[in-house]
């Protein structure tokens, strides 16, 4: 064979090799040994990170419901903790092949610092400003849930830390802390003495920021011990809502506002003006 003619064959052989190699590489065919990290522990951590928030929120909803009914914080916490223990059991079972060691610790946390704000009350042409002191809100170490209700600024919150040792995958010491909360802050009460309408402005926040999906059925208002129908609920942005109530008597007022968010978490504020 002519030696000059061998060059195209050599080029063709190399080209063929490149084409086949590229195809095999791009489609990850297993004839190539590849180092794949064991994904199970990553799945586990993704699952914990997403679902622990959900169980914490659901348990806080359970806690606030029970506290609203019974007024017993300790008993309500006990009931809500059963949910968290069930979740822990389910998780341990689901990932049992990984020899999972999971700890949920009531590590406690400072949820909000002390502050002050002005509450405006207007009746007809007379306006009064109240300086409201908001004390710091803490979940004590050893507790997962706490609430501070019946104040102009009220809050319901839960906080816990989670620790994971995934022995099967030799992943040790993964941990994170999670908080769920709902706070209600009454800022303005205006009474129109001619039409006997009351307008109440409040701000609703959760752990992510302003809550913008409140419905009229989620707001319950009691004035001087008598439950009132909410005529309208308007969202003003940044978590601020305006509710109107009709047929209100002349002052003075003790107003209780109970709000339930879409997750079922309850918070109750109280103002006496």
């Amino acid at each position: 064979m002519n030696s000059k003619g061998q060059l195209p064959i050599i080029v063709a052989v190399i080209l063929s090799g490149i084409i086949i190699f590229s195809a095999l590489t791009s489609y990850k065919v297993s004839i190539f040994p590849k180092t794949v990290e064991d994904p199970d522990w990553m799945h586990l951590i993704i699952n914990v990170d997403k679902d622990f928030k959900r169980i914490l929120q659901a348990s806080l909803a359970n806690f606030t419901r029970s506290y609203l009914d019974t007024g017993d914080r300790v008993d309500s916490e006990g009931n809500a903790r059963i949910n968290i223990e069930t979740w822990k059991f389910a998780f341990s079972l689901a990932y049992a092949p990984l020899s999972l060691k999971i700890s949920i610790l009531p590590s406690g946390s400072l949820i909000s610092k002390a502050s002050t704000y002005m509450l405006q009350f207007k009746y007809g042409s007379s306006t009064t400003f109240y300086n409201v002191y908001v004390s710091s809100f803490i979940i004590e170490r050893g507790s997962i849930f706490n609430c501070s209700w019946d104040k102009p600024y009220s809050i319901s919150a839960s906080h816990a830390s989670i620790y994971l040792d995934i022995i099967g995958s030799k992943v040790y010491g993964w941990n994170n802390s999670y908080t769920a909360l709902l706070s209600l802050n009454i800022t303005k009460i205006i009474v129109d003495e001619t039409s006997n309408e009351m307008s109440i402005t409040f701000i609703l926040n959760n752990e992510m920021g302003p809550v913008n999906n409140l419905s009229i059925n989620s707001v319950n208002i009691t004035i001087n011990g008598m439950q009132r129908n909410v005529w309208s609920l308007a969202y003003c942005g940044m978590g601020m809502y305006n509710v109107t109530i009709g047929n209100v008597p002349p002052p003075s007022y003790t107003i209780l506002i109970t709000v339930t968010d879409s997750r079922g978490i309850i918070v109750r504020s109280k103002v006496t003006v």
Binding site: M1, G5, V29, R54, F89, A94
Partner: protein
Amino acid sequence: MNCSGQFRIIEALITVILVIGSMTIAINIQRIPSSWIIYSREELDDMAFNLLDEISVPTISNILSNQTGKWEYDISLLLGTLLPKTVYFNMTIYEFTPINESTITMRILNRFAITNIPGSFVMDISESGSATYIFTSSDGRIYMLVLTLIRVKG
């Protein structure tokens, strides 16, 4: 005809055959599934987990909270739509319920199999993978979703 000229023609033919042959092989590799391509189990595990992670909150949560009619078919239809036609699936949903502080019950929630595997399944299984996902619904119910994916040889 010149002898060296004939060699040139033969060499050119070999070159063309090599290039076309390699391209044919490359195109065949891209066909999924092919009986001689072996996928790693991890890919099916990842696919199953990612699917559960994506659909648990927006869709399965809604289906499980209502549980109207044959809701298992709804989930089966959803999985059948999202997964490639060459992948068979089987899903089981468990629910954990606390009875008291020391007792937790675990029961299978689906009344019949959530699957697209034919009754007389005798195909040659190429690969199978599975994922488990714990999911808490907005009303605080705790579910364990187990999804198994099977890829058969094409």
